[in-house]
């Protein structure tokens, strides 16, 4: 795709007095992409989105939509639309008037508005509700009306500010799939911000993980999950066991370490070029750890040992095992295998566990800080 990207940010920054909310963030979003910005609350993602929408002016940097700088364009003239966190549907208008609001501002004539409103409502699966009040809709339906209200204006970029946050869990799962479908149907560029990693992982083509005003990593869901490039991403996206360790020796990307609790580990350098003697953070995903009652099966994996079952957190398919390593006393979170072999596992049982060095990612620790 050599086309001009729908949205491009060039070294965009925003300061509030002394506080730097967004620090020189650059990225571009090609046409038709579902782009997510994932980060904990207070990481600057909302500020970034509000700058794109035009509600806040960047301190420095440039913002381009379809190749044109929009820094001087007020929010009501920008070719972007936004779905607000609490949707911000106008309670004083019926559904049709809500969806037709933007068209009315453009001075489109009444019969055209009516047709276009009906067409877009049908596309989101809500035909024939135009005359009903907003309050008569369910949470998921309101969501779709909010999207229809933006999409009827055919914006270049649709911004979504954690719109699923207010919904209950079941509906949220459902809306994730629906949002993704709507996006591919309208083929509009979506910029979606969320603190919920599963929302970002399920829906996005591209995800940027944001922390303290900068993008830690930008990539596809798979890249973020399997090859997190920083310790923050490794800890924030997906579950992970985290150890603090000191590097004993380095051989290419192969790293030999000893944890603070005295356990020897082998892992791979996550691309930060760790050196002998460095203090590092080591991340292992709970589902990467294999469990066995037979020491011979896990012994040759490279890392591992024997552990005592301290607790079983039963949660159906996502059940977890909390294991206390018998030699180092380190605590491990392990995903419970669902094959039935460990169904009778009880608290206090001793099992062996192990994982491959390739599944062990090593990051230089930031300022010697340990623990999440």
């Amino acid at each position: 795709m050599s086309q001009i990207p729908d949205l491009e940010c060039r070294a965009i920054s925003k300061n509030f007095d002394d506080f730097k909310a967004v620090k020189e963030v650059s990225f571009s979003v090609p046409q038709g992409t579902f782009f997510s910005i994932l980060g904990p609350s207070g990481c600057g993602k909302t500020t970034l989105l509000r700058m794109i929408a035009g509600f806040q002016k960047p301190t420095s940097g440039d913002l381009l939509i379809k190749g044109n700088s929009v820094l001087e364009v007020p929010p009501n003239k920008r070719p972007v639309s936004m779905v607000f966190q609490h949707l911000a549907l106008f309670p004083m208008m019926n559904i049709g008037a809500n969806v037709g609001f933007g068209l009315r501002q453009r001075g489109v004539n009444k019969t055209d508005i009516k047709q276009q409103v009906e067409r877009v409502l049908e596309r989101v699966g809500l035909g024939g509700v135009a005359d009903r009040p907003v309050a008569s809709l369910s949470g998921g339906q309101k969501q779709r009306v909010a999207i229809a209200r933006c999409m009827v204006l055919e914006p270049d970029v649709l911004l979504l500010d954690e719109p699923l946050g207010a919904l209950d869990l079941k509906l949220r799962e459902h809306m994730k799939i629906e949002l993704k479908q709507l996006q591919s149907e309208f083929n509009t560029t979506f910029v979606y911000i969320t603190h919920d990693q599963s929302e970002a992982l399920v829906m996005s083509d591209q995800i940027a993980v944001m922390n303290h005003g900068v993008f830690e990593q930008l990539g596809t869901a798979k890249e973020l999950y399997y090859e997190p490039s920083t310790a923050f991403v490794a800890g924030f996206v997906g579950e992970a066991n985290r150890f603090a360790a000191t590097v004993e020796s380095v051989n290419g990307t192969d790293v030999q370490m000893i944890t603070d609790q005295g356990k020897a580990l082998r892992g791979v350098d996550a691309g930060q070029g760790v050196q002998r003697g460095d203090t590092v953070d080591v991340f292992v995903r709970p589902e990467a750890v294999r469990l066995s009652r037979d020491a011979a099966q896990t012994g040759q994996l490279g890392n591992g040992g024997a552990g005592k079952v301290e607790n079983i957190l039963f949660n159906g398919a996502n059940s977890q095992l909390i294991l206390r390593d018998q030699t180092s006393d380190a605590q491990m979170n392990i995903a419970m295998p669902q094959t039935g072999e460990f169904r009778d596992l009880a608290r206090g049982d001793v099992v062996t566990y192990g994982w491959e060095p390739q599944q062990t990612r090593v990051y230089r620790s930031a300022g010697g800080q340990h623990g999440l």
Partner: protein, 305 residues
């Protein structure tokens, strides 16, 4: 077993009725001050006044029941001209108060936070720490011939002699708007406060101009506050006695002034009562029309304020 059950049911029912008796008693006790107030101070005097207004004096201590007092009102142009003028001036004062109060309320509710908000709100309240009489005298000191404004204008050389700014309609209007500002600002701030900022942002985001947002989002949302503020301000202006008399002087021609002179100067309680009832009818009518025009209901607007 069955007997046991029914006995338990019986005690439960008894217990329930005792609770409801008690809560009924509490209800009436709590209502009592309000009811006493309404009956003795509002309903009884009005019934009395209505009966007085229907008496026609035919001789010394001889009265007949008739509508003669009301007839007097309609036959004397001065009376109904004053009546119409009072209504018209009160409506204008209400509209002016709304026009000035709305931006103030919007600023307080939407553009300020925390301490500034409280301070501004208190500043609206400060004039009410002194009595209405003192406040009105304040305006007289400013506006009279030898007053502050007149002197400043002369000092600046803009006028050659002293200027009298009191005793005209503009002075009355100024006084009325000033006196009722708080009663407009408070309900407006309350309703505007409850308007979610993201609705305004959503409006901009969808391409609306500031004016379109005001017209389509802010005003419809604030309508209950606007109407309740207008009702209060209108009634206060219509029933105001001090401000029109002091700032308007002899020619103020305010209907409450007429009522006062009938009762106090002329000892014509019959006509005064009739005037009182006409004023009550007028304010009810205008409030009713206002509610109908704005599509609001009294319960909704008063609940908001």
């Amino acid at each position: 077993m069955a007997g046991n059950l029914s006995k338990r049911g019986y005690t439960a029912a008894r217990g329930g009725s005792m609770v409801s008796d008690k809560s009924k008693l509490t209800f009436w006790l709590l209502m009592a001050p309000l009811l006493i107030w309404l009956v003795t101070l509002i309903i009884l005097p009005h019934v009395g006044m209505f009966l007085v207004s229907l008496r026609e004096k035919v001789g010394v201590r001889e009265y007949e029941t008739s509508f003669a007092n009301y007839q007097v009102f309609f036959n004397e142009p001065l009376y109904w001209n004053t009546f119409a003028r009072t209504a018209y001036m009160s409506v204008t004062a209400t509209a002016l108060t709304l026009l000035i109060g709305f931006p103030i309320a919007y600023y307080i509710a939407k553009l300020t936070r925390g301490r500034t908000k409280t301070t501004l709100f208190l500043m609206c309240l400060i004039p009410f720490w002194v009595s209405e009489l003192v406040r009105t005298f304040g305006w007289m000191i400013l506006l009279r011939e030898t007053g502050v404004f007149s002197n400043v204008l002369q000092y600046l050389g803009l006028v050659s002699g002293p200027v009298e700014m009191l005793y005209n309609d503009a002075a009355i209007m100024t006084g009325l708007v000033y006196t009722s500002m708080l009663f407009m600002v408070v309900p407006l701030v309350t309703t505007l406060d409850s308007l979610d900022d993201s609705l305004i942002e959503a409006g901009y985001d969808l391409g609306a101009s500031s004016f379109a947002i005001l017209r389509e989002i802010v005003i419809p949302h604030a309508m209950p506050g606007i109407v309740s503020g207008c009702i209060v301000v209108f009634m206060l202006s219509l029933g105001n006695y001090l401000t029109p008399i002091l700032l308007g002087g002899k020619d103020s021609l305010w209907f409450t002034g007429l009522i006062y002179s009938q009762f106090i100067t002329r000892f014509n309680w019959e006509l005064g009562s009739a005037f009182g009832f006409l004023l009550l009818g007028l304010s009810s009518l205008i409030v009713f029309v206002g509610l109908k025009l704005s599509g609001q209901s009294l319960t909704k607007t008063m609940g908001q304020a």
